[in-house]
């Protein structure tokens, strides 16, 4: 199924990478590293994650020769990053600790009464389109702040699934989590963004 992702421009890029073309590497680093960082940060702290992504690119310079393109380039890169991270964790005897138990953020869960109806319903409709809202610099700064405050596991899931448009199945493989746990991570992260935008719309504050 990954074949569909395999576009002509990706094939051309892979050929250039195989030839060791430095401009191609520059483009690939720019296009693919953000998601690779999301993968690595799921497992490790930021500075270790950066180191792993650097190391992976250095490995790729040789490994790309054997890349056959059965999976897309993106998926292939993410697997390399994830495997390295898992090895690092294993050798230091650490684990990723994540809470998958609750599907509602406490701040949202508190807004229902005991019969399960809204006590504090959402007051405003986010009537403006996403694009119009984003033109306001303040909201963008606020999103920045809240996205970086998300637990790493939620942020990685959110980035890979939404921003980098991986299929659920791939995200689960790369992050080594079950499909239902991925759903929890995504839903919790989205609720936090929802709560943030709501506060921002009501008060203009972040």
């Amino acid at each position: 199924m990954d074949k569909a992702v395999h576009t002509e421009s990706e094939a051309a890029l892979i050929d250039d990478l195989k030839r060791g073309d430095s401009l191609a590497y520059r483009k690939a680093v720019r296009d693919y590293s953000p998601a690779m960082l999301s993968v690595a940060r799921f497992y490790l702290d930021h500075s270790s994650a950066e180191e792993i992504v650097q190391d992976c690119w250095v490995t790729v310079i040789d490994a790309i020769q054997k890349f056959e393109g059965r999976s897309g380039l993106k998926t292939w890169l993410h697997r390399i990053v994830a495997n390295r991270c898992k090895n690092t964790l294993r050798s230091s005897n650490r684990e990723v600790a994540t809470d998958f138990s609750e599907s509602l953020e406490p701040e949202l869960a508190n807004r229902f009464n005991s019969t399960g109806r809204w006590d504090l319903p959402p007051k405003l409709k986010f009537h403006e389109s996403a694009d119009t809202l984003m033109e306001k610099g303040a909201l963008s700064d606020c999103l920045d702040k809240h996205l970086s405050a998300l637990p790493e596991s939620q942020r990685s899931a959110l980035m890979l699934y939404e921003a980098h448009q991986h299929k659920s199945e791939d995200v689960c493989n790369i992050l080594d989590i079950s499909a239902s746990n991925l759903r929890v991570l995504l839903h919790r992260a989205r609720q936090r963004i929802f709560l943030m935008v709501e506060t921002f719309q009501e008060s203009g504050e972040c």
Binding site: E50, I61, G116, S140, E162, A163, R190
Partner: protein, 86 residues
């Protein structure tokens, strides 16, 4: 019967089309009757779009520069001395 809280719990699954037919129908029925939940689901959708629009526009410039420098270095090392295979 599906209550507002129950709907909020599965709202993302509804948005992503991950619910089974029966669950999907009960969400649809609830949304027809409940203005608050309609607002909630609509706002959650907008939040997702916002997040997508935002993250694609804000790469981590310093980190990317450092990665780029390391790759450039490794590439030129490989070109200058083919012998040191790592």
């Amino acid at each position: 019967m599906l209550m507002c809280r129950g709907l909020a719990e599965i709202a993302s699954d509804y948005i992503d089309g991950e619910l089974n037919g029966r669950q999907n129908l009960s969400v649809k029925l609830h949304l027809m009757m409940c203005r608050h939940c309609r607002t909630f689901v609509g706002n959650l959708r907008t939040s997702i779009h916002l997040m997508k629009a935002h993250s694609s526009a804000h790469p981590d410039a310093d980190v990317l520069r450092r990665i780029d420098a390391r790759v450039t270095e490794a590439l030129s090392a490989k070109k200058s001395g083919k012998s040191n295979d790592e």
